[in-house]
Symmetry: D2
């Protein structure tokens, strides 16, 4: 079950980084939705390595092969499981031969062996960030459902790299075009330049940097999410922190909320005279109260550590317990954040799409 | 399913804050474990309101009534569901009558109604922090299993209140006695005094403050946790962020990791000559790599916003959409953090206990 | 998880037969439904021992204490977990002392010990039929939702006892009043008399008899159930075969279908001129095709073995492996079938109610 | 979730009958097991159409392509999800064009449309028996684990066709070689001849026949299965009744048990002097008591209706509700039972393998 996510809209991913291929099964997609090939391709393109000098030159042919779940006559979803498979085109298994007998620091080599007694060496096996291809494809389907059925918009961006922060980004208006304007996917172009310089600097040092991605979801109606363990905040946290290299998660004002008093943090309610809707004057809560959406924009952040693959000598041990030194070779990003933007959007979409469907049984009537 | 947590060791909680009572069912507790009445009582006592001037004077009789799952002859677990029920002794439903027709800012009043079309007014219904009684009882059972079967120790403490931070707390040695030495459950006594002053200050202003709890789990063997969606980090994040009033989660170095380079953050491996175990020289990862424990101490933090119940006038609307003003009355903590310490420990224990059992099927042999 | 049933409408039962009490948590009940106290009491009354000379004279006070999930002001469901608890009033633990050291033939004594290393002796612990109190209460809630929201009617009856079969019972018209007219809950009064005689005969021999219960569900709309593992037929089979003492399950024509040819068994479609609905001329399929309801009456049967508790000497062994002889004492039914009628109805209702809600996310629109 | 089966050893199947392909993900397979390519191929071969004149001449290339989960260096399982994909080689989508506008009697055409608003016409979509390829492959892996780790043997055979029953088949000794000796997979050769004649007779009439498959599982240790909803009997029932065309399920003596008295049906315990094990003198219970295995041979039966595809004119309606006549064409089995033998074995293996792993957490020690 550890490879499945979601309840009513449920995905299961599979596949090692190198080998026959990897993929995803989406079980619970409602029938009758035009399958969004273009959106999936677009998001996979944003996740793909080799997009520019900031990302790994490794080539991945990320076209989704759809094996099932789409009506052959009309192209809409059938309600049956949707399988998408991605071939591993650029596998070079022997590139990894020297890794078989040692543990790379801060990778999953040692822990996988501790758990399973063995590990797939090529490409980092299941721990590779390549697994996120499957999530991004499924997430693009989820966000398409959200947008078509409820007008929900999800936008993530790189907000900080190596301690360099973007200036204010307007949660109500930022869009993907603005995000993609810079190579580093930060809509603040001045900050983006400094981030890029930091990444370039790390690369020339054979080193890596981390940072923070922020994400907003606009248009989520009030009433999604459930009390207690299925709070939106809890499920978003679990979703985002399942991405590789994540170290922290915030919702709403996040850590900064702890320095406010209740009188400063509480969001007063008012009635919007135009729409008649109950709204909040401020949105410190980030669109979720008591685990359930309140109709305001959902705001969250997720922090990524510097990736573990550095091109410098590091102390480690062999499988036999002997001291040794490891220095990585090959094709790796000095900073994962630009490519992680669609991963964050996808995990948010998967949580929200699941709750969109779960809300349908919240009442005896079909509202929610 | 939103009221259940865990896979193999699975709890389901129920109960509104006021009314017949609340409780928890633990399904999947292995048979043959002496039922830890004393540990459960101790942790419930630490969670209970009315422990001192920092916590609400509201009385809760938190004794767990064990209805099932324990062998009448020997007091060990039967392997069948363990039901613990907690009566609501101090219910004063009419104290809440004035809340029925308005939405308290930053509470779950509006969002519950948006979802369900109605809400239980008395005591905040299911959104009340009283629901955590059930989690703490189940978590105490989980931590007892962890300690007896694997020697795992879990200790949480208040590390920051209203921006006042504790000095360095040693993750390897801090224990509950040190934590409980101060009223605010911060082991740094000097910082604790300043935190208490801040809480007292907020209370006299009719206001509330937030803060940060840190938690360590020592003695977790390498190999717990699963790849992808069931990463320890992901499940801990989801668990902790399901607690009321939580706004942020960190593991290992957390947000600070984003300001390190890979060469600084990576944890070199070495072989401990004494035990022969593979260890890491540093522990920036916080005991989890690739979602799986590596045998080092697990370190995490969770941030709580200032609680929403303040004794000052706030703008809000009635259910009918009219503008109104709300000012809380009654018995409420100006700062939840001291009482949240056992809640944090319990959620960590629930995740780890589940993974302790899940690890048993990781290999064809029964190790893990 | 073995004590939970259902996906969207999910119950978890707990409790040994003797001890603090047993109960059920219903998670996923939609909000806004008037809680059906009377229907629950009625079905519990039909399940209760001591209803007449055919059932055990053991007294059980089966009144459900509702701890949570119901709106205190209006009595409708809140959408939060509904907990119902049943006290064990007539517990006589010492009545079971002589059972602690041996294995009763065809009971769960030996198998529970094989699994758990111990067992609760009093009352048969979790294996007792008393556990079904919890299912019947939850099932009565489920059938109330089904009836109010979709007009579904569920009726079960005793169709065979000890090889004595009822004559034809009309699936389209049989109701609970007709079923309850005879002590044995068989609507064919002549057959009922012979069944009662057979039960009385078994009792005077210190023996027990089995039989078959049939059940119909009328008014289920077309489109409930899912392909593959969640077929209505599969989930009904799993549900019914989880009742104690069950040995066989049939749907539609059941075993008799195997002796028909396809041309005899297929149900031709026609369009009902009155309603415009697509209907079938015959209903050999029992209302389910490809695992999904087709709008016709659902028909099924479940067979119960003779209960294991007989008042005759039987060969067995002690826990230490010594040969011994066991003869039951106490209060036990010679035939469980009359009391099992509401159990069967309840399990059917739980499956259908879950699928009623699951159907709400079958399409991009909310139909289903 | 309707396309997943199992808890700890969990499969998810996908794929329409025609189109890109179908497959299965196995999540939870323990690491370190040599992947049983040969056993999988053998069981797929027994399921394949075109094996002889009794089965459809339709060709399916059933070779499993293993995409993930197997160690490239050693061929053992990795503990990560195992994906097996099966191409649809002999797809002739246009063969189905005439089916798009009408509902075939006793197929899933109408019910799928009632649920989803549309259906995949080619090959019957997801309702096709071709979906069982995925189950058989996963089931062969499960039975390999069972055999290697616990010596469990699972054997199914055709016991009745069109009312023609096999004579006594010895549950303790029957093996697959004996089963496969006859074209109809009935180990009683004389009965097999009459069954074959009945099938041939049906075929020449353009008609179909049904029957009964029996299955035994030998060597299951005492203690597998759980009380209440996870009873082995319940999960086996749900598993078997999820196969296409199933109408009835029995365990142990099944329906015949209802005609015995308790004194006849109860299985006396004794201690086997050779092994020291607790055994039963008879095995009316079919190896399961209280839902948990008792160490005796598990015996069950499953009944299949005559398949719906007949080559005779049948009354039906079009999608628009007009009366019409339908007569099937193409390649279809007059009797599914011979090919269903490995399907039955596979579903039994999936249930038992899941419970083998679940038993590992039944006690504080790792036994079970």
């Amino acid at each position: 079950m550890s490879n499945s996510f979601g309840h009513t809209f449920r995905i299961t991913t599979f596949g090692e980084s190198h080998g026959g291929g990897l993929g995803v099964i989406v079980d619970g997609c409602p029938a009758g939705h035009p399958f969004p090939h273009a959106r999936i391709a677009a998001q996979l393109g944003r996740r793909r390595p080799g997009q520019g000098r900031l990302t790994s030159p490794r080539q991945e042919a990320d076209g989704a092969t759809v094996l099932s779940g789409v009506h052959s006559a009309t192209g809409v979803t059938l309600g049956t499981p949707i399988a998408m498979v991605f071939a591993n085109k650029d596998a070079r298994p022997h590139a990894y031969d020297n890794l078989a007998e040692l543990y790379r620091p801060s990778h999953a080599d040692y822990t996988y062996e501790a758990r399973y007694g063995l590990r797939e060496v090529a490409g980092g096996g299941r721990a590779s960030a390549r697994e996120t291809v499957a999530r991004v494809a499924a997430g693009a389907l989820a966000e398409d459902l959200l947008q078509v059925l409820h007008g929900v918009e999800i936008v993530a961006w790189v907000d900080e790299v190596a301690g360099i922060s973007a200036g204010h980004v307007d949660a109500e208006t930022v869009d993907r075009a603005a995000v993609d304007r810079t190579l580093v996917r930060c809509p603040d172009e001045a900050a983006a330049e400094r981030m890029i310089a930091a990444i370039d600097g790390a690369r020339s040092d054979g080193d890596t940097v981390g940072g923070v991605i922020r994400c907003v979801a606009r248009g989520v109606p009030a009433g999604w999410g459930t009390p207690v363990f299925g709070k939106l905040t809890a499920e978003l946290a679990g979703a985002l922190m399942s991405l590789p290299a994540t170290r922290a998660f915030e919702v709403g004002d996040g850590l900064a909320a702890t320095r406010l008093r209740g009188s400063e943090h509480n969001d007063p309610f008012y009635r919007d005279p135009a729409s008649g809707a109950v709204r909040t004057r401020t949105n410190h809560s980030g669109g979720v109260q008591g685990g359930i959406s309140n109709g305001e924009t959902i705001r969250l952040a997720v922090a990524f550590k510097p990736t573990a693959t550095i091109f410098r000598e590091q102390e480690t041990v062999t499988r036999g317990g002997e001291s040794t030194v490891f220095q990585a070779k090959g094709r790796h990003d000095p900073c994962v954040l630009p490519r992680a933007v669609p991963m964050v959007e996808s995990m948010v979409a998967l949580v929200l799409c699941d709750h969109m469907l779960r809300a349908r049984s919240a009442r005896v009537g079909t509202g929610g």
